[in-house]
């Protein structure tokens, strides 16, 4: 449905300007991360030169104050491990509930749909208490929490795809002597690869950026994620070291943008095919 537009040059210029405005907030943070603390609030739009320029001081300061690399490591660990576990367990579960029809499986499917409209505030207090009780308040335990809380959407997306797989393929494999486990891993899972990518992207975007769930469930004296570490820069009395803050913000944003530049195609495709009706 592509067709010519009137004044193509005008629109290119127009969207270029809008794009510039779009990345301006991030450029501003980048600019200010090289500025002396006092000048960030006094001259936020100035170029950091001369006495305003502090080199990498803000970064060093921010990394020290937040233990940034440790937070980065934990965030990476929690995200990657949770996403892998979610993909493995939810794809198996979705295949099972689509192939074995009984009260339990159809009830579970409906509960998965239901869980998607429940806001986190509804369960946050009780969830954090249960997590403490079961001693799941470590990054390893958090994987189980994410599997449980993320199961709704993932099972829903996987089931939608399983419905479209013709039964004949699986039956043929079973007649040839495959056990259900072999059938799943050698026949079904390879067909589901694109769906796995979709689920992985949606869940990774959510888990990487999640603030409240890890804040409430993790033992935050020992483990912090990036979002928690950044929010912690704000002291008890509302004072913020804006210099360190700018450094941390840039450090948090740059890896994501680099990742985005490489995996853009998959990310956008994942979002589109994940946009199933809730």
């Amino acid at each position: 449905m592509t067709k010519k537009v009137k004044h193509p040059v005008f629109w290119t210029v127009f969207f270029s300007l809008v794009s510039l405005a779009y990345i301006f907030p991030i450029l501003l943070v980048f600019l200010n991360s090289f500025k002396k603390k006092a000048y960030i609030s006094r001259e936020p739009f100035g170029i950091p030169m001369g006495k305003q320029f502090v080199g990498l001081d803000n970064y060093v300061n921010g990394i020290e104050k937040t233990d940034f690399f440790q937070a980065f490591g934990w965030t990476l660990f929690i995200t990657v491990a949770s996403v892998l576990v979610i993909i493995l367990c939810c794809s198996m579960c979705a295949w099972y509930i689509m192939r074995v029809k009984n009260a339990l499986t159809s009830g579970f499917y409906l509960l998965c749909l239901f869980s998607m409209v429940v806001p986190f505030q509804m369960v946050m207090f009780t969830l954090s208490k249960i997590v403490d009780m079961l001693q799941l308040n470590t990054p390893w335990g958090l994987i189980i929490v994410y599997l449980g809380y993320g199961a709704g959407l993932s099972v829903f997306i996987f089931s939608g795809f399983v419905k479209s797989i013709p039964l004949d393929i699986e039956e043929a494999a079973m007649i040839d002597g495959c056990t259900p486990i072999q059938t799943f891993f050698q026949v079904v899972l390879p067909i589901m690869k694109p769906t796995c990518v979709t689920v992985a992207i949606l869940q990774a975007m959510w888990i990487w950026n999640d603030y409240l769930l890890p804040y409430l469930c993790l033992d935050i004296k020992k483990y912090k994620t990036i979002s928690i570490a950044i929010q912690y820069l704000k002291g008890g009395y509302g004072s913020v070291d804006m210099g360190a803050m700018m450094g941390c913000l840039v450090l948090a944003i740059v890896p994501i943008i680099v990742f985005y530049l490489f995996c853009q195609k998959y990310i956008i495709e994942g979002v589109v095919s994940g946009a199933v009706k809730g």
């Binding site: 537009v5 907030p25 609030s41 074995v100 986190f120 709704g152 603030y211 700018m246 944003i253």
Partner: protein, 280 residues
């Protein structure tokens, strides 16, 4: 075949089921039960009937947050969807650099709410400093700030979905309309919009629920200042739980009201827009 698979329940279904029970089902059911109780930890709950709900509704801050959030959702849903659709509509035409523009508009979605909140706090405070004010000067400033932030973040996401929808409209429809002599406005209203209804259903569902659930951006941008007047519902509930001792039950009752409101609105919205969908 089904019987053969059935034996494998412990391997295929049990792990997810257990995690789901721990991570969602038990907290949810306990949450409903606790909303009728007075408690500080889960173990000392005492049944008090509807008193938590009465206190929640009588709380002026909660009611303010309720209307503040409703206004916020209405504004953001309209702005995000109209802007995302318009941009998607233009970018599916032949414009130089449309792929780059698409990437730029989508980018903010990958950055977390807390980080975006601080980024925008810097930007908005820097601009407002020209008049000697800050973002927490009044709840209206906070409102506009959060609207700008959420639009900036989500327009790209919805745009991507709309672009996919526009590219899926069968070329025959457009050709047929052209042959019949439709002008571009008729084309938009009679052909394109009706065939886009599935995308519109999804995007309005996502924007409504995202607007209601917004928490991180609110926390980092204004944290409810001045005097809790820029609190959205999610933050108000959080502060009731963890800000005041002895109000856990009220917080849970607020959470149940919040959940019912979100669920009812999501169902109504889904019915309304699904009814307008046409079979392609």
């Amino acid at each position: 075949m089904s019987k053969n698979i059935k034996k494998y329940f412990p391997i295929f279904m049990l792990p997810t089921l257990l995690a789901f029970v721990i991570g969602f089902l038990v907290p949810f059911i306990m949450g409903i039960w606790l909303s009728f109780c007075k408690f500080t930890t889960v173990t000392d709950a005492k049944f008090v009937g509807l008193s938590n709900y009465r206190q929640a509704i009588a709380d002026p801050e909660f009611m303010h947050a309720f209307w503040y959030t409703t206004a916020f959702v209405i504004v953001t849903v309209i702005v995000i969807n109209v802007a995302a659709f318009a941009i998607a509509y233009m970018l599916t035409k032949k414009i130089n650099g449309s792929n780059i523009f698409r990437s730029v508009f989508f980018m903010p979605n990958l950055i977390g709410g807390i980080i975006l909140g601080w980024v925008w706090q810097l930007l908005l405070n820097s601009i407002l400093a020209i008049w000697g004010k800050t973002i927490v000067y009044s709840p209206t400033y906070g409102f506009i700030g959060m609207v700008l932030l959420l639009c900036w973040q989500q327009i790209g996401y919805m745009m991507v979905i709309y672009i996919a929808g526009l590219q899926n409209i069968p070329g025959d429809y457009i050709e047929a309309a052209k042959v019949d002599g439709a002008n571009s406005r008729q084309m938009l209203w009679r052909i394109i919009l009706p065939s886009m209804m599935p995308s519109i259903t999804i995007c309005s569902f996502l924007t409504i629920t995202n607007g209601f659930k917004m928490f991180d951006q609110n926390l980092a941008l204004t944290n409810g200042a001045p005097s809790k007047m820029s609190e959205l519902l999610a933050l108000n509930i959080f502060n009731t739980f963890y800000g005041r001792n002895g109000f856990e039950g009220v917080g849970q009752a607020k959470a149940v009201i919040f959940f019912i409101a979100v669920a009812v609105i999501a169902v109504i919205q889904n019915r309304l827009t699904t009814r307008k969908e046409v079979q392609a």
